[in-house]
Symmetry: C2
Subunit: 361 residues, 2 copies
């Protein structure tokens, strides 16, 4: 863990760190391992455990009590909260998994803000990474999807102005104060987290949903990955390598896209989202142009919820030909309008999105 | 087929075209469909069928006779040849599949040269694409692997000088005379080629190796893809979409790599491979640098056979630190040597490679 910690350039001292602890083997092992590094003074950080009770299962209150006791026994502060994810899912029309994920990251970001923490940790393992990549492959994702879960990413405040966010997009990782990191992702197997809990003689909680084959992720874990392992015994490591290579590619492509977006931006009002030059976009390579358009829409709308390839393709059609006055629909009633040689984003109403919510890791 | 033909910008008239025909449903359907387009004068091309007998199966001579008769009955010239792929595999230490593929493309390139053809066609379908992508994912490939089979690519002559090839790398598709195209790849399913043969009341040959589950590709086809289809009934289309998105990404990344290679090239002897500047390479993003190094090695060695990620990683290590005089081994005894601020490629001996042989499509 310390090795991965250093590789990810996470702070070795003088940081407040929020660790998400569900009580499963992964997050229990992470908490125990952090505890070991703190007590041996390898890490001189202030650790706060955080547990969200999703209110989805009968056992969830008992899980919460168990996590609270574990954290306190180890000597750490713990924040816990209960939400009704089922109700949220009905309101936002997300599925349960998406709604739970959003509730979790909103809770973690809020907790980080309360404690003025610099870092949030989740206990995703290399198995989670492999499952994520396979699920995205099954949907026909591009590099963004197949790059899987990021080991570290910035959570940029939503309070910055669109232009400010636009400008910081190319140097994203450096300009922001709050990081989300998965220090187990690149090396730890799920079975190893179980082993480590046993080694530390600490029990962990089992989530019955992890065995429920009505979830695609569970079927990937129990059926598809084992069949893939019959071709390559190190399939999980192979998928993690693919993800890493694609992340390297994306850092170049996204930087090119940021540069294109700056080159295409018209006007200089730093507080509003700029219109974009049709001519500049039209001659850019598709792989860069599509990402620039996604960044622009993210800046303008605050999120990329339900934003699909088809929406970018519709915007690209506006770039063809000489005519203006046409528009492409975005999810939720927003539109991209072409007026003469300009593309403008028309957002229906201001939404309070509370984070980059389209990221489904 | 005509729609795909136009999308790929293949010549509608005045071209000599070599079609590879094994006698299986895919290539028989391609030949029959081309025949239909030629006889209705939608295509005004000169078509020549080409069949390579790999000498691997008892039935292969009968297959050859069958293909020769089919082509002649339709009124086309046919070139056929027999090779001993088993023997070639023993000499080159390739596996049978690789040796067969190489023998096939060498035969096709030679046939194209003999007839001064501008275009070679193979009958790869969307199913071949899906299988290829899954096989490469199982190995942990990056974007190059997951981009699958290319619908069109240039076969650049090996007689050009290294610098000439280096310079043409960024405009690859335009500067070369011979194209390899797969006009069924982006839309035709294997079952549709069978249907079309039946519609045309023409039989096709079955290859028993297509059912032999000792081949990974057959197990992908018969076990893994059906399981994946239980998650997404349009998995083959989804994988093809992934491949297309990654090809868009690669066209940007490879162009960046070509530009980096030109920027890093030292000296101006157009007939030899240039040494590269350590300083220029060291500050480039890894995704671009690794591709530039691969392009450079391809130019210098003529192929990328047995060239793996590990070899590029070893070269990258040479870029670190101030010291020269170190080297990284390449497959086959070649070396990359760092001397002061230069990287030099030291090729053991000149090989006659007859094409970009590392491309395993």
């Amino acid at each position: 863990l310390l090795h991965a910690w250093r590789n990810l350039h996470l702070p070795l001292a003088e940081a407040k760190v929020i660790a998400a602890v569900s009580g499963g083997a992964d997050s229990t092992a992470l908490l125990l391992a952090l505890d070991e590094l703190i007590k041996t003074q390898e890490l001189r950080i202030e650790l706060i455990a955080a547990h969200l009770d999703h209110g989805l299962r009968r056992q969830s209150k008992a899980d919460a009590r168990w996590v609270i006791k574990l954290a306190r026994d180890l000597g750490y502060q713990i924040v816990n909260q209960r939400v009704d994810v089922g109700q949220r899912a009905r309101i936002t029309r997300d599925n349960l998994e998406q709604a739970a994920r959003r509730a979790r990251y909103e809770f973690l970001a809020k907790t980080a803000a309360t404690f003025k923490a610099q870092l949030i940790l989740t206990a995703h393992t290399m198995d989670d990474q492999a499952e994520t990549i396979v699920l995205r492959l099954l949907r026909g994702s591009g590099a963004e999807g197949l790059a899987g879960i990021e080991p570290v990413r910035s959570l940029l405040s939503q309070t910055a102005s669109p232009r400010r966010r636009l400008q910081s997009a190319s140097g994203w990782g450096k300009s922001s104060q709050l990081l989300l990191a998965r220090p187990l992702l690149n090396w730890a197997r799920r079975s190893e987290t179980e082993d480590y809990c046993r080694l530390r003689k600490v029990d962990y909680r089992s989530d019955l949903m992890n065995d429920d084959e009505q979830f695609a992720r569970v079927r990937v874990r129990k059926q598809l990955l084992p069949l893939m392992a019959s071709f390559n015994g190190r399939i999980v490591e192979a998928l993690a390598r693919t993800a890493e290579l694609l992340r390297d590619d994306l850092s170049v492509l996204n930087q090119q896209a940021s540069l294109l977006l700056l080159a295409a931006a018209l006007g200089d009002n730093a507080e509003t989202l700029p219109a974009l030059s049709v001519a500049v976009l039209a001659e850019a390579p598709v792989a860069v142009r599509r990402r620039a358009l996604r960044q622009w829409i993210l800046q303008g709308r605050g999120d990329l919820r339900r934003h699909e390839l088809q929406h970018v393709l519709a915007i690209e059609k506006l770039l063809l030909g000489e005519k203006g006055g046409r528009s492409a629909e975005l999810p939720g009633g927003d539109k991209v309008v072409r007026r003469q040689q300009r593309l403008e984003l028309s957002v229906k109403k201001s939404r309070n999105t509370g984070g980059k919510r389209a990221r489904d890791d």
